[in-house]
Symmetry: D2
Subunit: 355 residues, 4 copies
């Protein structure tokens, strides 16, 4: 027997085929089943990866003692029930973003995993792209200095989802990336959400999130389903350098600007006025690091295996997914309150461990 882990993919819709393909290609995993209520759909996914057993009964998958882990790619509203069942059956779990459809349910899932010493991983795929990994590395090593602001724009002519608004559809990407790369994670003090539904679809199609961070910096997200142009850009400005990630520019995805405003250290007792008088501008070089071409989902399944083997939280853990839910929940409350800022409570009460 080798040290391969056995995994079943639950859900054969949009994302399931990608999961199946990457688990199949991984040296860490045996893909042992594709499970979907729609057996025909599951069969097509199974054929696409050269043949895998197909099941429609989730209980049977979870009852199989050979299955070490499940990867869940079903609609968000079903995550809570499936994940709790899988954890109860002693399976490690990876789950599609968002972790759950409410913060409360997500919290229960994170607690359940911790109580049983199982890995609960959020599939925040973007975090495993070469660009985002590089961003995390640059920030961690101090290349940007202290963070001044984060501005993320994710807009294009998008599918108007039947069940969720543009915040729940798109912002989990921006929020999970911020959580992954910022030094203290997604440490938001409050959220103001401004949404608009000019076509009267019954939900926001244009949305803005303003989120003061605990560090004093501001994070902001613009998500939009009605833009004829497509932009996927995040700016992370620091005291030393500023990073711009333009995901649609394959020839220069990441640019690091050695440009900025310097405030000279001034003697104690300095006032805002004397500070303003000590401003200078730095106009240095721009640098664009080479990035490998690599499929992010390969990194996701490798990290899932490592977390299981090393009995540690995944880099994008359930707690990370929960922090995203905290912000989305506060955003929802802000929307209801006409855009008034809402305090975000600490993401996770439960201790996240894997014994």
């Amino acid at each position: 027997m080798n040290d391969h882990l056995n995994v079943a993919v639950i859900g054969a819709g949009y994302w399931g085929p990608n999961l199946a393909r990457n688990f199949r290609a991984s040296a860490d995993w045996n893909l042992v089943a594709i499970c979907d209520l729609d057996v025909e759909r599951a069969r097509r996914v199974a054929e696409g990866v050269g043949g895998v057993p197909v099941m429609s009964d989730l209980a049977a998958v979870l009852a199989d003692p050979l299955v070490d882990a499940v990867a869940i790619a079903t609609p968000a509203r079903t995550h809570h029930a499936i994940v709790l069942a899988a954890l109860a059956a002693g399976k490690h779990v990876m789950v599609e973003k968002p972790l759950a459809d409410t913060h409360e349910r997500g919290d229960e899932m994170v607690r359940a995993a911790a109580a049983r010493g199982l890995v609960l991983m959020a599939d925040h795929t973007y975090c495993y792209t070469p660009a985002v990994l590089k961003m995390r590395e640059l920030i961690a090593e101090g290349a940007l200095g202290d963070i001044l602001f984060v501005d993320s724009v994710r807009i294009n002519l998008g599918l108007i989802q039947p069940d969720v608004d543009v915040f729940w559809d798109l912002a989990p990407h921006d929020l999970s990336i911020m959580d992954f790369v910022l030094p203290g994670g997604l440490a938001v003090t409050s959220v103001s959400a401004h949404g608009s539904d000019p076509l009267r679809t019954g939900k926001s199609c244009v949305g803005y999130l303003a989120m003061p961070l605990e560090s004093g910096a501001m994070a902001h997200v613009h998500v939009n389903w009605l833009s004829p142009t497509k932009i996927r850009q995040m700016v992370i400005a620091g005291t030393r350098r500023t990073l711009v990630w333009d995901d649609l520019n394959p020839q220069q995805r990441l640019s690091v600007y050695d440009r900025g405003v310097d405030i000279e250290a001034v003697s104690k007792g300095s006032t805002a006025d004397t500070r303003a008088a000590n401003v200078s501008y730095r106009l240095g070089d721009t640098w664009s690091p080479a990035l490998p071409e690599r499929e992010a989902l390969g990194g996701v399944v490798a990290e899932f295996a490592s977390a299981v083997h090393e009995r540690r939280p995944a880099r994008t853990s359930g707690a990370a997914g929960l922090r995203v839910l905290s912000v989305l929940g506060a955003a929802q409350a802000s929307l209801l309150a006409g855009g008034a800022p809402q305090v975000v409570t600490a993401g996770v009460a439960a201790q996240e461990v894997a014994a």
Copy 2:
């Protein structure tokens, strides 16, 4: 005697030379004086346009019965006093943006001009660029349909101003343009302002304004002094077409996208759900109108002359400047209230006329 109007330029700082040059080049105006407390500075401006009388005493300028009008390019905090004095002396007035440093003072200025039947014009220069004039024309003729959202970004490594924050420094541009091009002007119901001062300069250097419009659309502005990249872009999305103005792309400043989301007309009693089911996507052509190369300020001084001759409000009238002040004032209140939305009261109580 011809029908030239005589104008004096008050203030020989950053903007004064541009005013002087354009009045000098205009067929409508005689430039009769440059006035500045710093006579040497005034003299340099005067020389730059081939010689004009220089004065340091504002009262003397205003006392001169040959002077028909004054153009004021002094700091915003001085506008109120100078404009009221000029109006009292019977002069038509053009004044730099912002109209005043508070809405209350601006309102007093607009009332004073109306009471005396004099033109009070806001020098919203951007409104006279070929691109913005074309935007106004396209929207007026219905090319965009109903407006869905307006998103404006005006960011770069900007001079941190000693006396005003980034909202008062940059947002007047975005707001005055919106006022100029939108069918109902800048009809904002409330403003949420989110500012950040991560360098502790004593004022916001990064700012966001979310402004629901009376029509139900959302307008949003991002202004920023700390961005290493420079962006000057406004998107105005409509039900029929969407317009993108990229002021830094001289080869294609204006793009009109025949792309968008269509919601089919549904029978009475339709719910949000049935509406969502009737969504379709339109992916049509893009069109970029040719624009002449022309200095905007030439159009400003021509419009000032026309308004005086025709005894009508200028296209960028004092009332327009006042609407901008209303929003800036509400933004300031929102900042103080931690980002809570603030209602914007109708821009102008005073009737604006020129008998």
Copy 3:
């Protein structure tokens, strides 16, 4: 029995899987075999499309009376032998670009197909992209007026091929597109080729082709394996409008500029001088037509089927492939002659028909 045609794919290397997938997905074709000397390689391609018989013996494929046509994706130097054998066996043939490795061999292939009344189609895939189809349509309907110049740039850090130089590797794309979209096809009078091999690989890695057209316009191609930046751009300038195809800009692949230089019609006997005096400049709008997203190779296999059914030459016929070979041959001669221009003889002597 239906009217599906039976096709075998010969060659399971780089391009074979794409051919197999598109024949499989086509409503016009039955994919009946994948043939490659390397059976294992053929098997992988066959599995990728859900299972197809695999063969290593070309003769057996050609001997099968149920096979109507073959699609050949083997190295260029093998085309001549395989195509002649296939034609001799009465099969219709589609063949990868370039048609052959010399003009002489290509000419023999075209004659053989004509003699037997069989379709010989060049797989000039680019010609079936939505952008190139639109270019052809625009030019055909006169939107550009008379053609003034064609300038094509196809450069990036490319694989240095072991057997061919950069002209034979890349220029067939540019030449076949020009042949497809220009009113008179690729009607080149002479070719000057300038190549450079600065890394001493034994073949040109940087290349330029200057080709006066019969119409008096100039066509020019820049191909390059050593450029760190990637450009895929073709400009076709006309008396009325100019078209720019930027294949790497998915948001605006095609732009049509209503800009140009107008020479006023002058009376008979005008000289160059008087003509120059009548120059004016037109600075009109830019227009970017919407293009569907569609895989070009789907159009290729559909056209192949139509040509067979209708017993007519394909839109990218063997004769088109031969015109490309004429230019490549002249370019090779020019290179040997140190860049001296070489006359291009009429592409095809043989009559191309399908009885």
Copy 4:
């Protein structure tokens, strides 16, 4: 008496005002006269710089012993006579590009200057831009390694000149920059020129120059008056790095790519085949150096002063101007020969010195 030099500007047309302004602003020069046959035109230039004596008689200017130097901005066909007269009068001379209208005349001018120990400087303005100065510096310090190819594109909707073709109008820029930045200067072995006059204006409006360099690399220039899009781009590829200068991208004018093709050193007796087998690809970072914003012409007049003071050739000397003329002359011959390559003879026979 100070060590200022006295200069007169000859020619008050397009370029004269810029020269006058920069000489006036320079700490090295006294601008003592503007000379033009059209006195009114000269007077306008003089007024634009705050007043300078105006003259219409060139002989009088040259006869004035206080005049140390003249800067000539008259049409190219007049350079020869004026420069020889100025040199005969003992004046140092700076002259607009191109140096002369034929290589023979240019050669006579260079010889005359050398014979009298006077500075003859070519006003190759582009060479003094921050971007080109940086390019020269990077290449000189070996950052690019050996040069592999140079490709320059200078196209837009340009004024069709009455007296010269597109080669003589635009290519002097590209050629003088290559001469300035390449290690061995513009060391061209032969020139093939391909021109096209599709509007029948009597001269080439579209042009290509292919120029093998002595080093074995290829230099190529595309100049064009009929392109609706504007491009000003030069690529200089080296064995170590490649530099791209995009003059129309103010935010990133210069990019240095650490990308390329490496050929491993192979043992003696290696053939082209074994070389090809040792190819590898390097995909490193991109770097964009910060560049100051500075007017190039300020550097031109400073260099002219330094050359005069230090009695040395200017960095863009008459000899440099002559090398440009050599290439233009050969290009003209190639055009007449239908594009056949023409040998370029060594640029300068005369020894260039300033005693």
